[in-house]
C-alpha cells in the first residue's frame, strides 16, 4: 500500500484508481510473443529445416541450414567456365583485340606493383632526397591548386550574388 501523500479530496479518487480493473489482451497473446523469442526458435524449427538450402525466417529469427560442401575442384571448374563464357561473349560483341585485352588486364592488375617498382627505381637513380623533395613539391602543388580552386569558387559565388542583388534592385 502506498503512503498517504495527498489531500482528503483526492482520497475517494485514489481509492477508485486502485480499484480499476486490469484489462486483458487477446487469448493468444502469449503464443504470439513466444513465437518471436529468438532463443526459443532454433529447437522448435529444427525438424522443418531438414531440406537442403532452405532458409527459414520466423519472427526476425533466421535459421540457416549449412549448405552441402561443393568440392574445390568442381567450384574452380565452374568459375573458369563462367569467366571463359563471359570473355568469349565480350570478344564477340565488342570485337576486342586480344593483345590489347591482355595488356590492359595486366596493367590493371599490376598497376600498384608497377608504381612501387617505379618509385624504387626512381629512388635508386635520383636518390631518396630528390624523391622526397619532389614529393614535398607535389604536396605544395596540391595545396596551391586547392587554394586556387577555392578562390575561383568563392569569386564566382561573389559575382553571382552581386549580379542577383543588382537584378533585384533593378526590378
Amino acid at each position: 500500500m502506498i503512503e498517504h501523500d495527498f489531500d482528503e479530496e483526492f482520497v475517494p479518487i485514489a481509492a477508485e484508481l486502485q480499484r480499476l480493473p486490469y484489462l486483458s489482451p487477446s487469448r493468444d497473446f502469449a503464443d504470439r510473443v513466444i513465437a518471436r523469442i529468438d532463443r526459443l526458435q532454433p529447437a522448435r524449427i529444427a525438424p522443418v529445416t531438414a531440406a537442403r538450402h532452405l532458409e527459414v525466417h520466423r519472427g526476425g529469427q533466421r535459421a540457416v541450414v549449412p549448405r552441402r560442401q561443393v568440392s574445390v575442384l568442381r567450384a574452380t571448374g565452374r568459375a573458369t567456365a563462367g569467366v571463359a563464357l563471359i570473355a568469349a561473349a565480350a570478344f564477340m560483341f565488342f570485337e576486342i583485340d586480344v593483345l590489347t585485352a591482355i595488356l590492359s588486364a595486366a596493367v590493371t592488375q599490376y598497376a600498384f606493383t608497377i608504381a612501387a617498382v617505379g618509385t624504387q627505381i626512381g629512388a635508386l637513380v635520383l636518390g631518396s632526397e630528390t624523391i622526397a623533395y619532389l614529393q614535398a613539391g607535389a604536396l605544395q602543388a596540391i595545396i596551391l591548386y586547392m587554394a586556387l580552386a577555392f578562390g575561383l569558387i568563392c569569386g564566382y559565388a561573389g559575382i553571382r550574388t552581386a549580379a542577383q542583388i543588382a537584378r533585384q534592385k533593378a526590378a
Partner: protein, 198 residues
C-alpha cells in the same frame, strides 16, 4: 524439459530459469505481467489493437534481452520502463489522444467498436456493484484519458501499480522532482474532471 510450477517463485528466480532457455519460464513472466502491461499501455493509447501491438513489442524486447536483466532492480520496473518508452515513442509518432473504453476511436461501425473493445476482468462483485463500479471506472478512465500522456503514466504507476516516486522516476526516466510535479498536477486535473461526480 518438463514444465514446472512457478507458484511462490520470485520474478528474479523465474528470470534465471528463462535465461537458461526454459519456455515455461518465459510463459510464466508473460502470464504474470501481460495484464498490467497491457492495461498501462491501453490507458495511455486508448486503442486495443495498438495496445496489443505495443505490449507485444514490449515483451519481445524484454524477453529477447533477458540476459541483460540486472537482478538488483525489480523485473516489473524494467518491464514497465520498456513499456513506457515504447508507448511514449508511439504517442510522439502519432498524436493519439481520443478516448473510448467501448472500442477503438478508429472504429466506424458499432460492430467494429465492439470488436475492438477491451475485456475488463471482473472482480467478483454483485451485478449492481459491478455496474456501479463499471460506471465509476469508466468516468475515471475518461478522466485519465484527458491527462497528458506523461501524467497518465505517472498517475497509473503511482495509484494503480503502487510504485514509489523513486521507482516511477526510474521507470519514466525523469527527475524525481518532475515526477512529483506531474503526479501533483495529474491529481489536480483528475479532481477537476471528476468534480461533477462527487
Amino acid at each position: 524439459m518438463p514444465a514446472r510450477s512457478y507458484t511462490d517463485v520470485s520474478d528474479q528466480q523465474v528470470v534465471v530459469f528463462a535465461q537458461e532457455g526454459r519456455e515455461d519460464a518465459y510463459r510464466e513472466l508473460i502470464k504474470r505481467y501481460e495484464r498490467p502491461v497491457f492495461s498501462l499501455i491501453y490507458r495511455m493509447v486508448r486503442d486495443k489493437e495498438t495496445s496489443e501491438d505495443l505490449a507485444q513489442e514490449t515483451f519481445i524486447k524484454v524477453l529477447n534481452n533477458i540476459d541483460r536483466y540486472r537482478p538488483e532492480f525489480k523485473f516489473s520496473s524494467w518491464l514497465f520502463k520498456i513499456a513506457n518508452n515504447i508507448t511514449i515513442d508511439h504517442l510522439r509518432r502519432r498524436q493519439v489522444d481520443t478516448i473510448s473504453i467501448e472500442g477503438s476511436p478508429n472504429a466506424i461501425t458499432a460492430e467494429s467498436a465492439r470488436a475492438t473493445a477491451v475485456t475488463v476482468t471482473s472482480g467478483g462483485e454483485s451485478p449492481l456493484e459491478e455496474l456501479e463500479s463499471r460506471e465509476l471506472g469508466a468516468e475515471i478512465e475518461k478522466a485519465i484519458a484527458r491527462l497528458r500522456p506523461e501524467y497518465r503514466a505517472c498517475i497509473i504507476l503511482r495509484h494503480v501499480e503502487d510504485y514509489s516516486y523513486d521507482e516511477i522516476a526510474e521507470i519514466v526516466k525523469l527527475p524525481l522532482g518532475t515526477v512529483k510535479t506531474y503526479i501533483h498536477r495529474a491529481r489536480q486535473e483528475l479532481r477537476q474532471y471528476l468534480g461533477d461526480l462527487r
